[in-house]
């Protein structure tokens, strides 16, 4: 019995840290400083060590959770997301006097849900994980209760999220009705047996599940909640949800569609083609028109979701590896970018209007340089990680013969460079407007930003080792 728990030890570590954070909060006096973030970091490091031990062992728990290398790779991405989010959230929590323990506990519980989603091999467990990860994120989005935008964002996100959960659940129900099981591997073999002529019921099941996932990864046309939620949430939370939720959802997306519903590929690939193209194009072109940096990055994250969809669509060895590598680089980069946004915020003003960045270079050369690195990496410039990630995706697309989508992909990434550069233009080439006073950068946050900048160069120049891991991760499944 105990041995069957092995596969979920990383999740247990994070959950335990979350519980500890909650208990610590209840003993904390008002205004007392307590190293609760430290608890979370201990839990995450424990989870990282545990998943290192699980590597290559392909353990399974209760038959519904499989800690294969694919899941473990995503788990690591999520741990990195967690570490960065915790450290970068520090200044925000202090400034806004947010409830310390609640913030970290919610972050950790959400992370536990994401990690469960990454290794779940049963539709019901995926649904469970989806709810576990979503509910804390809804709360985190609205954690600044005194702000109307935060409440609106949280409410919008919650309603649409609940809506998409319902779709997802219907999809599971139909699948169960067709196959009598919710296990992904069994669904796969049963679908394969009758793949020649898919019934309308099967298509309905796939379609409903697709809609559920599309909401979570903010694929067009289910992206409506994204800009509002990203803008209303504190930047530290936005960084967390734009990377963590995406990583977990894409992991499950890949598992469900490339394992269970692979036999119906001929039917869903056309839909995915259109959705991927629309996501890339809409995310990019609407991003161009934004004047708030947060909203701009929200649309950019939609566009990046499009590239990930392209990788899933390509579905060859390259594509599956590309999903993992892309998620990793995207996580590191986007967390850094939102970290910078969070540092520039102050109590009364979000300071995220593009003009607020004018003259940042003069006042904070290091912060401006870090932001430039993040933005250029998002834009896909070598030798940053974003370039290798896009390279990987487009190789997969070219190999799979989706050259039209690859052309859409590269052209949209040129357009996206336009809006990333607008921020750079402001920071470097425009004199300060004098309105914004840039606050000092706390040491921990500075270190986190430096680490993510270094990681971006490491992944961009010497990606070999991580590419090996990504390749090893996909060899165990599908």
């Amino acid at each position: 019995m105990m041995s069957s728990l092995n596969a979920i030890v990383p999740i247990l570590c994070v959950t335990a840290a979350g519980l500890a954070a909650m208990i610590a909060e209840s003993f904390r006096d008002r205004g007392e400083a307590m190293p609760i973030a430290g608890l979370g970091i201990v839990g995450l490091v424990g989870a990282a060590l545990a998943s290192m031990l699980l590597w290559d062992r392909n353990l399974s728990s209760f038959g519904v959770v499989t800690a294969d290398n694919f899941g473990l790779f995503v788990t690591w991405i999520l741990i990195i997301v967690g570490l960065f989010s915790m450290v970068l959230a520090g200044p925000t929590i202090e400034r806004e006097r947010l409830p310390l323990g609640e913030f970290y506990a919610l972050t950790l519980f959400s992370l536990a849900g994401m990690m469960l989603m990454a290794i779940a091999s049963d539709l019901l467990i995926i649904f469970l994980a989806l709810e576990v990860l979503s509910i804390p994120v809804y709360v985190l989005t609205g954690i600044r209760r005194d702000r109307a935008t935060a409440v609106e964002a949280s409410f919008k996100y919650f309603l649409l999220g609940a809506f998409s959960s319902a779709f997802f659940l219907y999809g599971i129900a139909f699948t169960y009705g067709l196959t009598g099981t919710t296990r992904l591997d069994r669904i796969g073999s049963l679908m394969a047996a009758q793949a020649m002529s898919p019934t309308p019921m099967q298509l309905l099941a796939v379609g409903l599940l697709f809609v559920g996932f599309a909401f979570k990864v903010s694929a067009v046309p289910f992206h409506m909640w994204t800009p509002d939620a990203y803008e209303g949430a504190p930047p530290a939370v936005t960084g967390f949800m734009s990377t963590g939720v995406k990583a977990a959802a894409f992991a499950a997306f890949a598992r469900v569609f490339l394992a269970a519903f692979e036999p119906l590929r001929g039917d869903w690939s056309a839909v995915l083609w259109v959705v991927a193209a629309a996501t890339m194009i809409l995310g990019t072109f609407v991003g161009v028109t934004q004047t708030s940096v947060k909203r701009m990055l929200a649309y950019s994250s939609i566009a990046h979701g499009g590239y990930l969809l392209l990788a899933i669509l390509s579905a060859n060895d390259l594509g599956k590896g590309a999903v993992l590598f892309y998620l990793l680089t995207y996580a590191v980069t986007n967390l850094g970018a939102f970290g910078v946004i969070g540092l520039l915020e102050n109590r009364t003003d979000a300071n995220d209007h593009i003009e607020d960045y004018a003259g940042l270079w003069n006042e904070h050369p290091a912060l401006a340089a870090a932001m430039t690195i993040f933005l250029l990496s998002l834009g896909g410039f070598p030798p940053m990680a974003g370039f290798i990630a896009k390279w990987y995706v487009f190789s997969a697309a070219m190999k799979a013969g989706y050259s039209t989508l690859a052309i859409v992909g590269v052209l949209t990434s040129v357009v996206s460079v336009f809006f990333y550069l607008r921020v750079v233009v402001m920071m470097y080439m425009t004199p300060a407007g004098g309105r914004v006073r840039f606050p000092a950068v706390p040491r921990a946050a500075g270190v986190a930003l430096a680490v993510s900048a270094i990681l971006i160069f490491y992944l961009g120049i010497l990606p070999t080792r991580v590419l090996d891991w990504a390749a090893a991760s996909i060899s165990t499944i599908f």
Binding site: P365, F381, P382, I388, S403, V410, V414, F418, T464, L467
Partner: protein, 514 residues
Amino acid sequence: MSFPILSSLVVVPIVGALLLLFVKDDEPHAALVRNVSLMVSVLVFAETLLLWSRFNAASADFQFVERYAWIPQFGISYAVGVDGISLFLLVLTGFLTPLALLSSWESVHTKTRAFCMFVLLLEAAMIGVFISLDLFLFYVFWDAMLVPMYFLIGIWGYERRIYAAVKFILYTMAGSVLMLLAILGLAVLHNAQMGSYSFDLQRMYTLSIPEPLQFWFFLAFTVAFAIKVPLFPFHTWLPDAHVEAPTAGSVILAGVLLKMGTYGLVRFAFPLFPAAAAYFAPLLGVLAVVGIIYGALVAMVQPDMKKLVAYSSVSHLGFVVLGIAAMNTQGVQGAVYQMLNHGVSTGGLFLIVGMLSDRRHTRLIAEYGGLKRIVPHLVAAFLIVTLSSIGLPGLNGFVGEFLILLGAFRADPKLAAFAATGVILSATYMLWMFQRVNYGEVTNEKNAVLPDLKPRERLVIVPVIAMTILMGVLPNLFLRPMEPSVERVLGLMQRNQTLRAANTHQPSAISRQP
């Protein structure tokens, strides 16, 4: 294992730029920053000269090759090497970078450290482009080069610098991403034919690429390069970038960056896709001639010296493309030689325009006049550089243009005839500008007290003049080592002859080639 000289050419400027990070970025340290960066760039130039002296001129192969597995999962290797074509472009890069830094000695006051860092990083990326023997590596340098140039234009440029910088980077990227897809396509094809991924240029030469694919890939590569050259009608970014860039930026932009486009045509687009190249060569030739004449005519009416020189670049680079499109020894050799010439003479012109605008803070021709009596040395230098740009025999420009016209005449006499008018036009607009600026009475009294060349400026312009004379008098010093490599590239371009013989579906439009 000998000293990895080519890698050191890339590494030295990067290390130099990183070293500058340890120097304080304020006014008292600016001199130190300038000196360090100048020393680094001079060191690189010395290394390129060493490379030249040890280069085996009789060999057509790539020399000083270094090859390491880089990202083995995709068959990407760090492969660098140099042949007779890239050798001199390296020397040119090494030659112009210190001059560009020197030229900005006094005109760049703000953020000197960042300025010098960007120049050095730019140099590293440019050298990387010329030595890459792996398509992935090439693309990395090709794209990485955009970022420092973008900052140089955008931060230290003139009034409309932001517009120019963004236009520069978006234009170039738009072209290059399609090349990226073509490179990926080649790798996938390599995988299909040879069973493994590879981006190795020399292996790509051996690939047999089916014709429809060749056409697409050639177009993708050529559009990327044509934007960079810039070939008419892709040239509109160039005047903006040139005019708004600081002097150092213009010198490097005109001197080296534009050559990347023509270098790319010679190294990649033509030899990789010979059948498509033969098909499109006449079209490229026509565009080149249109560019020659159009650039010259537009240059003639420019009131702004920098803009005039910028349009003259469009015209001169048209000659280079014409030489390549001729696809014969004289044409290609002339084209490569003309790349060097243009780098030296147009670099020199931008340096001189920079000196004038440092003095008067204007680049309008009408603001000047009668400078000959006030600044005789400056005008003498101006004259030599102008004549070299026009192509006066005895100076460098003549040799290249002559070879190109010879090559073009063998390929298509009509085109050569039209192109030759460009030579006359270039004499017209350059001399007319020279005359309006330097001769006549001093009409603007602000000009009456201008100082002549300072020692630093002499240091900048004398090497340029020496080079124009050297290249004009002893062209064989350069042409000889180039020749075997040019022949090898032509051999690769002619692969299609056999291919064409085997293929009856070949469109007839290409049969113009001898």
